[in-house]
């Protein structure tokens, strides 16, 4: 066979330089007339090894990681021209074991089944990988709407956007509301900082999401589809639009689709304008209608009165991506993964102080420990694992000693965190939990739409207290005030944003109360993270006067002659920690 070279061109790969690598390979292929096939794909989830270049030859496949232009030239020359794989750069192969193999082996890929395995801009490649076979089966066998709903119900699929509401139930409500105009809406407003699974899915396998929506359209008898996508995801929007165009051309979208008379369904992409609250379904619909994205009271639920006051069904990107697989492989097969109440798999975005940051899809019920240490490769720089934040600004921190917690909706909720959309931010001993709570509160306070008083003003007051604490001005009674405010905000807010905004504060108080007390009583940050509570100084015994810190200091706050101990001018120091990180002699002391 002809050798096949594939470059991963997801957003994260491009940010790491994959575009340049692709162009380099393309140029070399032309200039030196080397004979091989060159392909593009999206993110396979190994973000920590980007840019990734895969080479397939007669013997097997070799996934090269961390490839820059120089290494790409080497791989081309050695592997393609001389049949001599450069094993040093191989992170994954079916021929020999690599240390990265565990990252992939622990996964079960259902939603991400095609991401990184095909060109997302090619319908042909998608169809080779079974795209649109689920919907074709439903149409060919004339499966009734209520039976499709039944199949999704039986699969146990629950909303992957965070709520965890059974998808089949939502569909049933929407089906039971009669109307000549109904909407299927895909929530792709992934606003949770630290989560990028929806982006990766849309970039890597847009047809899966389209097919999921078409199936939903058939199931609830809707003929309009809308994808509400963050404007911050330009590549996802571009690939979605390409996929929609391809589907229209071949008769998978539009009128009488899949050759079935009267089966009309079309989809368009609506770009969001940057508001976290638009992840809430009623706010999202208001935003599609061109209004301020403010949630409204429910009922009426969207299934009865949604977009343009018509029955609507909203699901998340990942939920839709699961649907075609369930239709094709059966509800029982899907339900064979996971736990009793949480079926199937869940995609997590692993980030923070973890060695293998990226996307993983695992069966529900796997423990947090396994995700972080088996798949995630443990904590960076051999530091100590302290906590993991699940569910973003609406979620909470789970401490290291609870790492045997299973990841399913109910076990995670029991800790005070939520599954959320699947952001998993790993923290080590250098992360301050009070600062973490302040960070999330800062986010939700800015993103509060302002409708409910407690959410609007309460989060502001909580943020002020937390900011004071991290700046060394905490007072006796602050923790009690935070708790009191937290419960009032939870009880008196209309939508999920306000109801969950205090979670990061409540869980950090619950599990890391001693850190709050150290900030308030001793004016110390045990993690050495809160800047106002730190002092950077040079240890004159250890300082060699190498001048590296003085040259690199962004504010020129370090004085000293060459080969003489340096001094940090405290009044000018911005406490960025740059000198501390750079010093090779441990001569910068922080306390």
């Amino acid at each position: 066979m002809k050798k096949k070279v594939t470059v991963g061109l997801g957003s994260c790969g491009i940010a790491a330089g994959a575009d340049k690598v692709y162009r380099k390979i393309e140029a070399l292929k032309k200039a030196e007339n080397i004979d091989f096939e060159l392909h593009k794909t999206s993110c396979v989830g190994m973000c920590y090894n980007e840019p990734l270049v895969e080479v397939e030859d007669d013997t097997g496949y070799y996934m090269y990681g961390g490839i820059d232009e120089k290494k790409a030239v080497e791989v081309l020359q050695e592997h393609i021209s001389n049949d001599n794989p450069v094993k040093d750069y191989v992170v994954l192969s079916d021929l020999f074991h690599t240390k990265d193999a565990e990252y992939m082996e622990g996964q079960v890929k259902i939603a991400l089944r095609n991401c990184g395995y095909m060109d997302p801009e090619s319908l042909e490649e998608a169809e080779e990988r079974k795209a649109y076979q689920g919907i074709k089966r439903l149409v060919n066998e004339s499966v009734k709407s209520k039976d499709i709903v039944e199949e999704i119900l039986n699969s146990g699929l629950r909303g992957r956007g965070g709520g965890g509401f059974p998808t089949g139930m939502k569909w049933r409500f929407a089906l039971n509301n009669d109307s000549s105009e109904k909407y299927v809406i895909c929530n792709a407003d992934e606003g949770d900082p630290g989560a990028f699974m929806d982006r990766s899915l849309l970039e890597g396998d847009p047809h899966a999401v389209l097919e999921g929506m078409i199936i939903a359209g058939l199931a609830i008898k809707a003929s309009h589809g809308v994808i509400y996508c963050r404007a911050e995801y330009p590549l996802a929007i571009k690939r979605l639009n390409i996929a929609i165009e391809q589907a229209r051309e071949i008769g998978y979208l539009g009128k009488d689709i899949f050759g079935k008379k009267g089966f009309d369904f079309d989809i368009y992409v609506k770009e969001g304008a940057g508001a976290f609250v638009c992840g809430e379904e009623t706010a999202l619909m208001a935003s599609i209608e061109g209004k301020r994205g403010m949630p409204r009271k429910r009922p009426p639920f969207p299934a009865a009165s949604g977009l343009w006051k018509k029955p609507s069904n909203i699901n998340n990107v990942e939920t839709f991506a699961n649907v075609p697989w369930i239709i094709l492989n059966g509800a029982d097969k899907y339900a064979s993964y996971g736990t009793e109440k949480s079926k199937g798999t869940k995609v997590f975005a692993l980030t923070g102080k973890i060695n293998h940051g990226g996307l993983v899809e695992v069966p529900m019920g796997i423990t947090i420990h396994d995700v972080i240490f088996k798949l995630g490769g443990g904590i960076q720089n051999d530091k100590e694992f302290k906590a993991v934040q699940l569910g973003g600004p609406s979620g909470g921190c789970i401490p290291a000693y609870l790492d045997d917690t299973k990841v399913d909706y109910d076990s995670v909720n029991a800790t005070g965190a939520i599954m959320g959309s699947g952001g998993m931010v790993v923290m080590d001993e250098t992360t301050c939990m009070v600062d973490m709570a302040r960070f999330f509160l800062d986010f939700t306070q800015k993103e509060s739409c302002g409708k409910c008083t407690f959410c609007r003003i309460g989060t502001k007051r909580m943020l002020e207290i937390l900011t004071r604490i991290t700046e060394g001005e905490g007072e006796e009674g602050d923790i009690q005030n935070l708790e009191e405010l937290a419960y009032k905000i939870k009880d008196n807010s209309l939508c999920g944003l306000g109801q969950t905004a205090p979670n990061p504060v409540l869980t950090t108080i619950k599990y890391f109360r001693d850190e709050y007390e150290a900030h308030i009583k001793e004016k110390k940050c045990p993690a050495l993270s809160c800047k106002q509570l730190l002092t950077y100084e040079v240890d004159p015994e250890k300082c060699t006067g190498c001048r590296v810190c003085a040259i690199k200091c962004p504010v020129n706050a370090i004085d000293g002659e060459k080969k003489q101990p340096h001094v940090i001018r405290q009044e000018d120091c911005i406490r960025c920690g740059d000198c501390y990180n750079r010093c090779k002699f441990d001569a910068i002391v922080v306390h």
Binding site: C47, R199, A273, T351, S448, D578
Partner: protein, 177 residues
């Protein structure tokens, strides 16, 4: 909740509104006029043209589409995407997503504020740079990151970020003569 004001002339703290060509809006207005749910695409389109939403553009769109000015203003101030002030040539978006935050994104903003002598969200007087914080760029594995134009810079620290800015400034000087 963000509180912003429409740009007003002659206010010392604000950069004066540069002259704009309002005819550039004509195609956009023609495309979206009388379509339901058109307000956000209209504002997005106008911002694509001018880089921000000039006061005069508000007035023209309102006059020609019949959308009330207060409704437009309400929507424009609600969403983070819309800017009511002119921006610099290069917009520096420092990611403050969770992953970047735990990898000290704050230090990057601090160092850039110091180097550019502007506060977060402001534009340098020479209109070359606007410094912004953004929620999440989705490149969490490269944290901490910032984005300038189409280019993403990963695994930064304060001095690396400042160097990027210095390089751009040098390049601009060369191009300008």
């Amino acid at each position: 909740m963000r509180v912003e004001r429409l740009p007003v002339k002659n206010e010392e703290t604000q950069v004066a509104e540069p002259p704009i060509d309002l005819t550039l809006l004509d195609d956009l207005i023609r495309k979206y006029k009388n379509k339901r749910g058109n307000l956000i695409p209209l504002l997005q389109g106008a911002q694509d043209i001018y880089g921000y939403l000039p006061r005069k553009a508000f007035l023209k769109i309102s006059r020609e589409t019949g959308i009330e000015l207060n409704e437009m203003y309400g929507v424009a101030t609600f969403y983070a995407q819309f800017r009511l002030q002119p921006v610099g040539k290069h917009i520096i978006k420092v990611c403050h997503g969770t992953a970047c935050h735990v990898q000290n994104a704050g230090g990057i903003t601090d160092a850039l504020e110091e180097a550019l002598d502007v506060a977060d969200g402001e534009t340098t007087p020479d209109r070359l740079f606007t410094l912004e914080s953004v929620a999440c760029l989705g490149c969490c594995s490269l944290a901490p990151v910032m984005m300038i134009g189409e280019e993403t810079y990963g695994k930064l620290d304060g001095s690396k970020a400042v160097k990027v800015i210095k390089d751009i400034r040098l390049q601009e000087k060369k191009n300008g003569g």
